[in-house]
């Protein structure tokens, strides 16, 4: 999915179903839903995955958020794919693209300075899920990542 492509309500619903199905039966217990801004110009779809789920103590949580924002210039698109090791704060790895800056977050321990790293745009949510899930099992490593010079501002919630 690329910016500038406005989804119909039906396509948006299909996208949500597609993501929820891609995660179910693989990584953990899946919850999903959508929310819309008061003017209908911002829509968010969100998928939560509790690992392992079904009442066992949490090892990690995956949160996948896609935002679709419309203005007169067309559609803007953002994603936040976050892995949090539990119990927090135990570590975080994330793929983000918001404010037009694709980047990664990597924190082996919470609160470490300079945890923004260079990233590239991608549109394969399955790939992201697989990567993050491996980290949930084997641990987070920030090795080989290049620090991002101009940090994008953080969104309100991730």
């Amino acid at each position: 999915m690329r910016p500038g492509q406005r989804l119909t309500a039906r396509e948006f619903h299909q996208r949500l179903e597609e993501i929820a199905k891609a995660f179910s039966g693989r990584y953990g217990q899946v919850g999903y839903g959508t929310a819309e801004g008061p003017n209908g110009d911002a829509t968010k779809l969100e998928v939560h995955v509790d690992i392992p789920g079904w009442g066992l103590p949490l090892i990690a949580t995956l949160v996948f958020i896609e935002k679709h924002l419309w203005d007169p210039d067309g559609e803007r698109y953002a994603y936040l794919y976050d892995l949090h090791l539990e119990p927090r704060p135990s570590g975080r790895f994330a793929y983000h693209w918001h404010n037009d800056v694709p980047h990664r977050h990597c924190e082996i321990t919470a609160g470490a300075p300079d945890h923004h790293y260079e990233g590239v745009f991608f549109d394969d949510i399955g790939w992201a899920a697989e990567e993050l899930f491996h980290m949930a099992i084997s641990g987070i490593s920030c090795r080989g990542l290049r620090p991002l010079r101009d940090r994008p501002p953080e969104p309100a919630a991730a």
Partner: protein
């Protein structure tokens, strides 16, 4: 619903193929066949090392319990997003 009730045995976060085979009374080669045919999701940790997440086990043995559930999604920050879009739009004129 808790995993013990869903599966009928004591749950773990991850299983080896042999552990799962023992629990459900099949040969380990059957579990490996499921993995290779992509009928059972498993994480490949090494050339011959797999871990099967609880979610994959639930999905295989009780697909209904593995279905994604609808949740409430917080819309609070979307109002701020729309405010930023509006400011951006006004500034462009």
């Amino acid at each position: 619903m808790e995993a013990g009730a869903v599966l009928g045995f004591e749950p773990k976060p991850f299983y080896t193929p042999t552990e799962l085979a023992t629990l459900i009374n099949v040969d380990p080669s059957t579990v490996m066949d499921w993995i290779h045919r992509e009928e059972l999701y498993a994480v490949k940790l090494g050339p011959k090392t797999y871990r099967i997440p609880l979610a994959a086990v639930v999905s295989r043995l009780n697909p209904e319990a593995a279905q994604p559930k609808r949740i409430e999604v917080d819309a609070t920050e979307l109002a701020a997003d729309e405010g930023r879009l509006k400011r951006r739009s006004v500034a462009a004129r």
